[in-house]
Symmetry: C2
């Protein structure tokens, strides 16, 4: 399954660089070093390729978010770990993160089933509900909370990507902006 991976990897890169509109399948195949037909062997249509790419990438991010977030710790610490993980992943996988955003604000997003969207969001919403029940997080609609947190993270990430920061400086920004967010929601 080496070629399939190569196609996905190349497609991701080209979509981010040139956009969906200006990335022909022929270019993807060529740059991936496979024949035209091979692409369509693995993906029935260009659209399917795009959708698979999104689901896969989004899943990878979601999985990474919860690494080392052991439930034994305090709610704040777990939340901070998830927060930090997310920004770290975004910084280390800029193309992937940008692709997720590009996809999410495109008409393609409407093709993702509500089930899949809910499935992706569920762990986060559950976590926030726990936080409210424990009277740590302010009582408000979890959907609103979730959107607010996501937007905040997107913002921080945009800022971190806009300039070159040293690792130390970067850590400082992440810590401080976490505190802003945490104070806002608790």
């Amino acid at each position: 399954m080496d070629k399939k991976e190569e196609i996905l990897k190349t497609a991701l890169k080209l979509f981010v660089e040139f956009g969906f509109h200006a990335t022909p399948t022929s270019k993807i195949a060529k740059e991936a070093g496979v024949a035209n037909g091979t692409l369509f062997h693995y993906f029935k249509t260009k659209e399917e390729l795009i959708l698979v790419l999104y689901s896969q990438t989004k899943t990878r991010l979601t999985e990474y978010m919860y690494t080392n977030a052991s439930k034994d710790e305090s709610l704040e610490l777990v939340f901070k770990t998830i927060y930090t993980n997310t920004i770290e992943w975004a910084q280390e996988n800029k193309t992937e993160f940008y692709f997720i955003q590009q996809f999410s604000t495109s008409p393609f997003y409407g093709l993702i089933s509500p089930e899949e969207i809910n499935k992706q969001a569920k762990p986060h919403l559950d976590f926030l509900r726990d936080g409210i029940k424990a009277a740590v997080i302010k009582p408000m609609p979890v959907d609103l909370l979730y959107t607010l947190i996501n937007s905040h993270i997107a913002g921080i990430n945009q800022y971190l990507s806009s300039q070159e920061f040293s690792t130390a400086k970067q850590k400082k920004i992440i810590n401080e902006s976490f505190q802003l967010l945490w104070d806002m929601i608790t």
Copy 2:
């Protein structure tokens, strides 16, 4: 200049509904009720049409943001007016707002000159700098502040668009989320 407006209006709608990749100029012309050649009379290329559409729409939003934000009022009140204006505009011009987001997270955004980006952001950054000087807003990089505020607004707007709220409920959400943001940055 009726037809030019019609082309822009139709293009906006179609780009949001189908995306850049799946909106041929022929479809825009047809739905706008003009001939194919007319579109290219007003816009040299499809790309130019897209760029003009963005600049125009972004300018309209920026102008609307400052309506009734008289500098005589307190900083908080001015900021709240701008905040409320923005969300109101976004809610009343959902297609336009969505287009701005779609464009901003697409490779087309890279074609906007730094001058134009700075020009659009300048009034906002100046305002924030004043707020910091007046010791009202927390001292931090204005770029970070700006990004954070923008993201917050995008989030609230997304939430407001996700469900149908009554006008009263909507106002309540806007007020409360403003308070969250204001507390966060002051």
